[in-house]
Symmetry: C2
Subunit: 329 residues, 2 copies
């Protein structure tokens, strides 16, 4: 990307840039872990504070893991690869509970929007005109669809919560926590980390950026997109992960995230959320013995979320700051 | 609208402008009626030619009826009002069959697009991956939904066809045909039709335009639109009719339709088609004892057509040539 080259780092070693970043993220990780433990007791204030702490834990896990991946040549490679895998497991496990909760909120909000101003059933029954009847019809199905989704996603969330608690009590997790505690005091650098940062970190950071640009250039254009072809979502999800890796590499090398990518990054998050919400609606519609009105509302909901997928892609294209890479295809 | 004033008609009477237009439309009406009769025998070439003739019949009916309405002050008022009512009945009756056929085509096309590349059932069953399963799932429901819509809309179309044939054989229709035959030779002008065209026709034409501009200015903005609120479609349908009246008035006064309104007019036609197709999908979903998969596909279809409603509104706004009137609200 058209930025002045890594001038500020010509006189510092790769280790001197990388180690403080990793130490600071490790310290964040340990702080969040402590907060999570303190708030996991079943008190009133507990759940929300525990959720926030789990979010912060995922945040630093992702950053450490991304940094270990992108800059592995400056680190002890075996150690880096192993810790990266374990952190990916941890943040994936913690993310699930949060994802189910968010998905349910998103779907219930969408159902609310689809069924319009809530019609009390008495008014719905007495209201004349086919438009009023249609909306009341969707209203009944929407209420049932909402109840079905609430049951299914709450169950999934509860299971994910148990799995997360189990993971946080496991010996596997204690090993991760120990490794991060070690990282907070001493980063296992490779001997090559004595080389200038511009050289040893600049090249992998550029590679992370090139992979992102390549992925964006390969994204399907609006013209070829089939809105209901879920298989076409995968390259967008992959782009989201590559954008995140690029963002973290940028944080390491420049000390701050790339501000021009905040918009496109947010669009890709929305894309992922809408894609998974659509899949949850489709999955709920495959529940045996549901009423046709419920299935109908779930179909409307599915289409609505697939529409949101398309809208998120449009926002991504509008906010993506490197026009040439997008219009090249 | 910013056009030079009716300069060409300062020296001609209103009758000299109005009468040739009505005579020519009446001649078109009679020609289409003859073609329709010749092709209504059950032959191979018949149905298509009869359909085209019915389309032409509707086209001239709408123009005569619109002209009688807009320029009623230049005509025998009682006669104009009565013939207008009868032509509206006729074109409405003839339009129904065509509308059901078009609606079915639109819905089957949309279902085809929603279920993606047609999956033969064997391939659908053996295909792995949740995306493949989801599409196959929609495929089965989509096929059933298509069959249901085909049954319902074909039945409706057949009924509309019988109703149209019955109407064309009725004494009510013969009275209309007689009135139009009379119109083809002599237009019952009001004494005031001897006044200059610029005066007597310009004012009603301007009023038709003002009603259109007023209706457009009152259309809901994107921000306040609720995509599933069918009641919000009505002002758009009304605008479509006002645009048509303005178009015909323009044809009378200037001798040709207003070219800048072709795009917005087409968008309003699409809006109406998508709105009615969505309602047909919703109505089919209320069929008792349908399978949930069918209801689900109909829900997806409903949402898809409501999305098309929104897209048509966006195209209307983009192509509407009088920006101020739209952004005023």
């Amino acid at each position: 990307m058209r930025r002045p080259d890594h001038q500020t780092q010509t006189d510092v070693t790769a280790g001197a840039v990388l180690a403080p970043y990793l130490r600071s993220q490790a310290a964040d990780f340990l702080r969040s872990l402590r907060l999570h433990r303190e708030n996991s007791a079943p008190t009133d204030a507990g759940p929300q504070a525990a959720e926030q702490a789990a979010g912060a834990l995922r945040r630093s896990s992702r950053r450490i893991s991304g940094t270990l991946h992108t800059f592995r040549t400056a680190l002890d490679p075996l150690w880096a690869e192993q810790l990266r895998t374990e952190l990916a497991w941890l943040s994936g496990t913690l993310a699930r509970e949060h994802a189910y909760a968010e998905r349910l909120n998103r779907l219930l909000d969408a159902l609310h929007g689809l069924s319009g101003t809530p019609l009390p059933s008495a008014r719905a029954e007495s209201a004349g005109g086919s438009a009023a009847k249609e909306r009341a019809g969707l209203g009944v199905g929407a209420a049932r669809a909402g109840a079905l989704l609430e049951r299914q996603l709450t169950l999934a969330r509860t299971r994910a919560h148990s799995a997360a608690l189990q993971a946080l009590g496991s010996s596997r997790f204690h090993a991760v926590a120990d490794a991060v505690a070690l990282l907070a005091s001493e980063v296992p650098l490779a001997p090559s980390a004595a080389a200038p940062a511009a050289e040893l970190l600049g090249e992998p950071a550029d590679r992370a950026e090139q992979r992102l640009l390549g992925a964006v250039a390969a994204l399907s254009s609006d013209e070829t997109a089939e809105p209901y072809n879920e298989a076409q979502d995968a390259p967008w999800h992959q782009t989201r992960l590559l954008l995140r890796l690029h963002r973290y590499a940028h944080e390491v090398v420049r000390g701050a995230p790339d501000p021009v990518l905040a918009g496109p990054g947010h669009a890709l998050d929305l894309h992922r959320d809408a894609s998974e919400a659509a899949a949850a609606a489709a999955s709920a519609a495959r529940t045996p013995r549901i009423a046709p009105a419920t299935a109908y509302a779930l179909g409307v909901l599915h289409a609505d979320q697939r529409h949101e997928v398309g809208a998120a892609r449009a926002v991504f294209r509008e906010t993506w700051p490197y026009a040439a890479a997008v219009t090249a295809r």
